[in-house]
């Protein structure tokens, strides 16, 4: 009898053991996931020696470090650069990739396999290998230390990923839709821009979000292609501050305040667009 089995003392012990283990694993995973964020915010709200105090909460909440970051560091210049570069890269990349991915799913007849394999290969390509060749190219054509150069580099280096995602997405839109429209006399341009693009909106949104996030987080290309403070994006701006001067006291509360301000847009983006992001992740956007 199942009910006897469930009330058997051994079963009860086993079940409560299972509950204890599961609960503790959940709690550990949860702490690992959220503690760094908590600690970042907690440190950013401290001042003076309280920064080094190993207590969970600040003894006295202070916004001193946020004042410093906002009024006495080039934070907003870098923030605006990051927004401009990431948004432009996102736009260029998604338009170019959707055109190519559509062409791939509908028009490419020969070598389709080769093409899709080279896209995947490009997706696996080590980013560090781009740095030196692109740097030398940018020196030659005068794109060094220019935001437009960074936009170009970001939109092109994100193409493989965006094409990968979108090609898979366009395959799910039935080809009969194109054919029916063509019989009705619609041209390719009309079919693509007016019919396919609206239907592919969720896929486009997902790839746009991912390109934006990649560009927002990118570090090594910005480090090598941008020199001047005025053109820096947030990651390399923060990196420059990290260096500091020898013997100078590191102000961890200021660093954490800057970090909090960098991560805030990402958290908001994640919470509002969670649905699309989840979809993109499950569709094969495994990068990270």
């Amino acid at each position: 009898m199942p009910s006897n089995q469930l009330t058997h003392p051994k079963t009860i012990i086993a079940r409560s053991m299972q509950t204890i283990i599961l609960t503790s694993v959940s709690v550990i995973l949860l702490i690992l996931a959220i503690f760094p964020l908590f600690w970042l915010i907690s440190t950013s709200l401290r001042s003076g020696l309280d920064v080094y105090n190993p207590s969970l909460f600040p003894t006295k909440v202070s916004f001193e470090s946020y004042e410093f970051v906002i009024y006495h560091s080039p934070f907003f210049t870098w923030f605006i650069n990051s927004v401009v570069v990431s948004l432009s890269a996102m736009g260029v990349s998604v338009i170019v990739a959707s055109l190519a991915a559509y062409s791939m799913s509908r028009f490419v007849t020969k070598w389709k396999k080769v093409l899709s394999k080279s896209i995947l290969l490009a997706y696996m390509f080590p980013p560090i290998l781009l740095v030196l060749p692109l740097f030398m190219l940018f020196v030659r054509i005068g794109l060094l230390d220019k935001r437009i150069g960074l936009i170009f580099a970001y939109s092109m280096s994100n193409l493989p990923f965006a094409m990968w995602l979108l090609a898979a997405y366009f395959e799910t839109i039935p080809k009969e839709i194109d054919e029916a429209a063509r019989i009705d006399g619609a041209g390719n341009n009309y079919i693509f821009w007016r019919m396919i693009i609206p239907m592919a909106a969720p896929g486009l949104a997902t790839s746009a979000i991912f390109v934006f996030i990649n560009a927002w987080n990118e570090f090594v290309l910005a480090l090598t292609l941008i020199n001047s403070d005025a053109n820096k994006t947030l990651p390399i701006g923060l990196y420059a501050q990290m260096g500091g001067k020898a013997g100078e006291l590191v102000l961890w509360n200021n660093r954490m305040a800057t970090s909090a301000l960098v991560i805030l847009p990402m958290l908001l983006l994640f919470l509002t667009l969670n649905k699309y992001i989840t979809k993109g992740l499950t569709a094969g956007a495994l990068k990270g």
Binding site: L29, I34, V96, S103, V108, P126, L129, L130, L132, M136
Partner: protein, 305 residues
């Protein structure tokens, strides 16, 4: 546009529109894929350096220098160790989180928990590095707690110690990568039909047997693809290691990308740096063929790739 050229392309692409639509992406890919490969291979046979006026072709000298130098083998070993530790920890972390959310927790708990588990993913690398750098610092939380409890004799910086640096970096990388593995595994778990679990229950399978005969066969394919792609990305990782330790202390966390970077930007030896890049390309080719092999066994899963 030259009409003849477009017609020629017609052999491969079905129409003028198709060709034009493909063109910008092909130009872009040639900048970020074809051009860097060609440049790296060409420069790897030269002694190119900003410090020299002229560049000579020295054929395999760079490679011979690198192979004879211990640094290459140390970097390679570090890279392999780093990749193995990180992928194992990531998979363990991501899969247990996914199993927990899918199998053991009720919907009302697992939905908010899934969002919270994703938080590390929203951290840009530079912020992960700043936060973990602070936690690992000798005046940071970890060291302070261990010191106050008497586990260590004096405050220590976990990234500056030879014994802990590699594992400390591995932990941060696993922490930041686990959420994505969790999401992909979760997608795989959610696609397992309920009747497979029902059958296992009727047959009297215990937890371990259910895992072995129902869950694993269903997520095996997803895991294989993740593992191969991840191994490539982790092996190629530059940002995390560079920002946390810069390859140090000594060279205990230096991998091939850091080595290539140092040759190019610290000692200005573009030729040697390119040779390291070519070695990385060989590794990529090897992993790519493994990926193809894995994928050819995964029939119809993702037809185009």
């Amino acid at each position: 546009m030259n009409n003849n050229l477009l017609k020629k392309a017609g052999g491969y692409v079905d129409s003028k529109f198709g060709t034009l639509a493909m063109l910008p992406a092909l130009i872009g890919l040639s900048f970020v894929l074809v051009y860097p490969v060609i440049v790296s291979v060409l420069w790897s046979f030269t002694n190119k350096s900003i410090m020299r006026r002229t560049t000579d072709i020295i054929f395999l000298e760079n490679f011979i220098y690198l192979i004879r130098n211990r640094e290459l083998w140390i970097s390679m070993r570090n890279g392999l160790l780093y990749t193995t530790y990180t992928i194992l920890l990531q998979i363990l972390w991501g899969c247990s989180a996914a199993l927990l959310l899918d199998r053991f927790l009720s919907n009302s708990v697992s939905k908010p928990l899934r969002l919270l588990f994703m938080i590390p993913w929203t951290f840009p690398v530079i912020v992960s590095v700043l936060v973990w750098g602070w936690l690992y610092n000798d005046s940071g939380l970890l060291s302070t707690i261990l010191f106050n409890q008497g586990f260590i004799k004096e405050p220590m910086s976990f990234l500056a110690s030879k014994h802990t640096a590699l594992l400390a970096v591995v932990f941060v990388h696993a922490w930041s990568g686990a959420p994505l593995i969790m999401m992909s595994t979760l997608a795989g778990l959610q696609s397992i039909p309920q009747d497979q679990y029902d059958v296992a229950l009727i047959e009297g399978a215990n937890g371990r047997q259910t895992l072995r005969y129902v869950i694993l066969p269903n997520i095996k394919r997803i895991l294989q693809v993740i593992v191969v792609l991840r191994c490539v990305w982790i092996f190629n990782n530059f940002n995390m290691i560079f920002l946390l330790t810069g390859g140090g202390p000594g060279s205990v966390t230096q991998n091939l990308p850091i080595m290539a970077y140092k040759y190019a930007w610290n000692s200005m030896e573009m030729g040697k740096s390119s040779a390291v890049s070519v070695i990385m390309l060989v590794f990529l080719a090897f992993m790519f063929s493994i990926y193809q092999w894995v994928n050819s066994k995964v029939k119809g899963d993702n037809d185009a790739f």
